[in-house]
């Protein structure tokens, strides 16, 4: 079994910040393991979600912000739905990756690049442009397109638009991103 290694000293500010942003009380977790049992991604996580909760209680900032699990969580809401203490665990996972981003972590680069590319597409067009997203993602990761064989199916089904569906309010959407950059953190 995976054992938790407490290598850092307790970082109380970190715990308070995550609690403030997620509006959750992490000390309510009594380690029943329900969240991990139902998490479809446990097989791929480096730290199972209930251990993320334990490490959070123990204020282990660096271990948490650098873990891969944060980027592999699909926000499927199983943990949140099944936690006997009504902890919104999925929201905590989300807030942990917000903090990981701010501190420059991104341990699953392909996932982070995919999400960033998606948002750039929204910013540029107001709506996401699927074809452009795929092309841009491949360019940024420099990966061979592992979905190449799906191309003909998508083309023959007429499911790929070759031009973005830009909207009148594109500038409004772009401003949402720009103003967000200026906004001060709520729980800094």
């Amino acid at each position: 079994m995976h054992t938790i290694n407490l290598t850092e000293s307790f970082d109380g500010d970190f715990v308070r910040k995550i609690e403030c942003e997620s509006e959750q009380n992490v000390s309510l977790c009594y380690q029943c393991g329900n969240c991990t049992a139902g998490c479809p991604y446990t097989f791929a996580y480096d730290i199972p979600v209930s251990q993320v909760m334990r490490l959070l209680q123990a204020g282990q900032k660096r271990t948490l912000l650098s873990c891969k699990s944060l980027w592999l969580c699909a926000t499927c809401e199983s943990c949140t739905t099944r936690c006997p203490n009504n902890i919104d665990v999925a929201r905590i996972m989300d807030v942990l990756r917000h903090e990981a981003r701010r501190q420059g972590y991104g341990s699953e680069r392909s996932v982070k690049v995919f999400w960033d590319t998606f948002l750039d597409s929204v910013k540029r067009h107001g709506r996401v442009f699927e074809m452009g997203l795929a092309v841009e993602y491949i360019a940024r990761t420099g990966r061979f397109w592992t979905d190449l064989e799906l191309g003909p199916a998508m083309l023959s089904k007429g499911k790929l638009a070759f031009k973005p569906h830009s909207i009148q309010g594109q500038a409004e959407v772009e401003k949402i991103f720009e103003r967000f950059q200026q906004q001060k953190e709520q729980c800094a």
Binding site: E21, P40, Y41, F43, A44, L72, A74, T75, C76, E77, S78, T80, T81, A90, D94, V95, R97, H98, R101, E108, S110, V111, V113, F114, W115, D116, F118, L119, V122, G126, R127, V128, E130, M131, Y137, T146, D147, E149, L150, A153, M154, K157, G158, K159, L160, A161, H165, I167, Q168, G169, Q170, E172, V173, K175, I176, F177, R179, F180, Q183, Q186
Partner: protein, 299 residues
Amino acid sequence: MSSSPTYAYYPGCSGQGTSLEYETSSRAVCEALGVVLHDIPDWSCCGSTPAHTVDHVLSAALSARNLAQAETLTGVEGIATPCPSCLTNLKTAGRRMLDPQFKERVNSLLDTPVKQPLPAKSVLQVLFEDVGPAALKERVVKPLAGLKVAPYYGCILNRPPEVMEFDDCENPIAMDRLLEALGAEVVPFPLKVECCGASFGMPRKDMVMRLSGKLLDVAEDNGAMAMATACPLCQMNLDLRQSQINATSGKQHNMPVFYYTQLIGLALGLDKRLLGLNKLCVNPKAALQAAEQATAGAA
């Protein structure tokens, strides 16, 4: 009914591309059943998963621009969308904006602030509550008798229950009841709310191979001839990627994956062009024919 249920309609980005057939069949079914949809003018992307992984105010603001646009429509009782991911974002934004401080932070990112977020529902919820299985059954002209379907809801249509406020979070039944009203046979499907691999198809295909592979295995083991979905991402993972799943696992699934709205449209005898069955990657013809033959044999 005194007046037709009327909603502000949010199509979502995938409806313009990878889930065209969900979009056209949802509209066609609503029209046929007397649900009036007014498109939200100049709607924009809700930010989907990527936005809420960056920040909750940013994510809410991307949804809230659409809530504000919806407020320009009159005579609508709420917002309806076919896409569970869009729905989650619209509902979460509305719910978090009950907190005046959060609302102010969101509105400060927008050109036009939101006054009072409209309640959002899935098209599935609208069809289930405003039309209902009994009324749907009366409208069926071509029953889907003999078609054994696994109803797959996906992970976020009903979860978490405090946010989604519809049906059961572990064993939802709305789609089951609608499919039964069409005459289809709904097979037991214990993975109704399990995750399909979500948007990891491009960055971590292995996730989708494993999770969607399991869904196909269990549907088949339970005797399904087809699956019904309510989510563009689930449908894409199960249908478009089914060939990849077979190549990875060595299995030979040949499981058509319908949008539930396509099945409703079929049973109502709606214009085939609007249902877009030809857009499905796994050809559903054989399953539909087998169902017909099974009932012809029984009769």
